[in-house]
């Protein structure tokens, strides 16, 4: 067993220290060490996007990221978006457009959708679809998720 490593990083705007095993994933750290369960385990190999988080502003799969590599970086999880107007707009759009069913993929979808909107002002549907290609959903058939992202973009523009 590897010894634990002390790291310090900014988590949802607040500086955190944590002692993590060197082989631990950021996902395990967030859920099991820090108790933030909004980031979901779906596959553990970067195929489903349920564990999407933002690191230094870019979306990453927390299951592929070594927890130790969070050291000195800025990490945002779904819990960190509670007061973020752009995220709230998306979350409202997800509810109003029926983009949530079982909801297990939803936090990851919301985070990734936020990146799509941050990059492109008015993304077309194809751009939204490509942007969500790393986020699996088994319930909705994606259409209403795409609708929600499109609506949030329009609302922001209005």
């Amino acid at each position: 067993m590897s010894r634990s490593v002390e790291i310090e990083f900014r988590l949802n705007g607040v500086v955190r220290r944590a002692a993590v095993r060197a082989d631990m994933s950021a996902l395990a750290m967030l859920r099991d060490v820090l108790g933030l369960t909004g980031t979901k385990y779906g596959c553990g190999e970067g195929e489903c996007g349920a564990c999407t988080i933002l690191v230094d502003g870019a979306s990453l799969n927390a299951c592929l990221l070594f927890a130790v590599d969070c050291d000195g970086r800025e990490v945002t999880t779904i819990e960190g978006l509670a007061n973020d107007p752009a995220a709230q707009r998306l979350q409202r759009a997800f509810a109003e457009h029926g983009a949530v069913q079982c909801g297990f993929c939803t936090p990851g979808m919301v985070l990734q959708a936020g990146r799509i909107l941050a990059r492109a002002g008015q993304p077309d549907r194809a751009t939204i679809q490509r942007g969500l290609e790393g986020n699996l959903c088994r319930c909705t058939g994606y259409k209403k998720i795409i609708d929600a992202v499109e609506a949030a973009a329009k609302e922001r523009a209005a």
Binding site: E47, V100, Q101, C102
Partner: protein, 769 residues
Amino acid sequence: MTVIERATLIGKRVPKMDAPEKASGKTRYIHDIDVSGQLWGKILRSARVHARIRRIDTSRAKALPGVHVVLTAADVPDQRPIGVNKDHPALKGDKVRCVRDEIAAVAADTEAIAQAALALIEVEYEDLPVIADPEAALAPGAPVINEKHADNVAMRFDYAHGDVAQGEAESDVVVEDSFKLHYVTHCCMGVSGVIAEFDASGNLLLHSNTQVPFLHKREFAEILGIDPGRIRIVQPPIGGGFGSKLDIYPFEIIAVYLARAARRPVKLVYTREEEFLASPTRQPVILRLRSGCRKDGSLTFRSVETLHDNGAYTSWGATTPFVMMQTFSSLYRVPHCKYHTTVAYTNNPYAGSFRGYGNLQATFAVESHMDKLAEAVGMDPLAFRLRNAQDPGEVTGQGMTFKSCGFKDCLRSAAERSGFLARHAEYRAAQGAGGRVKRGIGIASMLHVGGGACGTILKLDDFAHVTLMTGASEIGQGSETVLAQLVCEELGLPLSAVTVVNNDTDITPWDVGVHASRTTFIAGNSAIGAARKAKAKILAAAAKKTGVPEGELDLVGGFVVRAASGEAIVELAKLLRGLHFSDKAELVMTTHYYEPPSVHQDKGFKGDVSAAYAWATQVVEVEVDLDTGIVKMTKVTGAHDVGRVINRLGIEGQIEGGVVMGQGYALTENLVIEDGRVKNPSFRDYKLVTAPEIPEMDLAFIETMDGEGPQGAKGVGEAPAICIAAATANAICNATGVRIYELPFTPEKVYRALKGVAPKVAWRTRAAA
């Protein structure tokens, strides 16, 4: 005078009540729940497909620091086998029959320690011959997989109406083909998990993802030999169901055994790989279909034989013939029909229930043949189907009575909106033309049942807030929103005035579980029944208080009003407080138990099994790349007879999700099993449809206002996935002239078929042999 406007939520786009929680990541699924003092459970599964266990040594695992309990079958002599055939012990003792077989389990302080302990368990196997093919399992002298079934037959079904020989004699055209349907699995985004804990008195509390909590409760009572009243099941929100949580599985029992032995709560959660290896699948089927018709296009007979690979143990997959035979016998008018199924034990993974329950498989074969027969008699696929489609009022050979039936409207609507006939002719004419990408269009339809019974308890507090306690679980499909809408409609309240409690067997009334597209219909009727009783009680009290006759009162917008004018008479909350705090201290609390007016089938599988029947037609458009075999699904046009739309947003979501699940079944998903081993237990190689791949979807609802349905509604949960593969097969044939009899239509399979190098599915049935 204050007039209260009447507003209805029925048919509106009503957001799901739980969506804000879920979208903000606050919802706690089973994986997110920890219980004080909890240990982690892990299961050791067989390294062999079929073997005798010579020896298991757990001493090194037991010695690992942090390990509390290690169990093998020898430690639980009171095991009772589970499953539809009661052929499945949770922990296997002397023999393993399948790679998912559980042979030992560990409870430890952490997941990592439990995992490390598994690696320290030594198992000595003696290999037995592997039966990976159901035909081989039925061969004389085949090794026996389950000792109680020496012939390796888990189940048989025989159904008949009419006389197929006579039907064949009357036929101008007869076609016969074999079809092969593959393994797919549910892939719920939330992996399976359970937390088991006993209190100091030995009462069991299970945090469980089951879709059938009341059936589970009874079964666990039998397993533990305790009174069912001592078992409570709490269901946290579930990360997807689709039928996967309809049976009881070894991991749940093992968690209970571990908790019992450790006297500590035990949490057991799968990895994704384990989810692929150890979850149920959709039933794989080999199917031989012989059908005939007259020159005028009327069907004469249908004769079906299927062979189901049961896997090593019997779960719900074995019983899918119940639903399959309904499609064979009753989707279209068939005067003579015969169906035989053999369900054979093998060493493969076992199939469970999965959205559609055999109907995808049956519809694939039937609708492929409808196109072939149409072609043979020179009719277009739509006219041929309309010639044979059921009408309202029809009683089928299997005894189903279609009180409401929008089948022909579905056919016409889907065909018209997709431009089916013109495109079908155009693409067909272009088959021989140049170009490496061919377009095609195909049509298919389905019939599906729904049933079961459900109870509701409803209470109104002194602020006119309603708590609806229902046995119908929410599995993401939006049932709690629909039930709340139905109650609001009766009581004239906004959605915000309703809380739905649906997740605790100590509180909610009995329900048979979430399956069979039944929740809106059955639980909806139950909720309406309870709400109507509450309304009657309230209006009687209001009449007494105001002197206005009951019959002239109504509940609108939180007020008791004059029904005719809408004039507000008294605020509902105020009236309720008056009742609560009067000398008689009355509470408004009602119960209702709804049992649909369906009948049980007789021994010949005949009877009107469902109170209502759902219908749908789907038209699929594809592009086929002749250089690669890649089939791109470009558009799906669906017409669904749903009785009535209750929540438009919810029903669209159900249908779109089902369509894309059907797309996966048709094109991309394939759980590859070779010699009993799962070859692709990950999302890397088990391909779910992703966002860029979805087709354009155009949906229409045919509202037939079913007389028995809540507000006229019928079930819809399973319907949308059912016809997609069948319509896709027809579309590929329309594009290329090549018919493929085997799913899924992965690029290589399609390419081989286009090149003519794919062997046609051939299965000699026992009857033919």
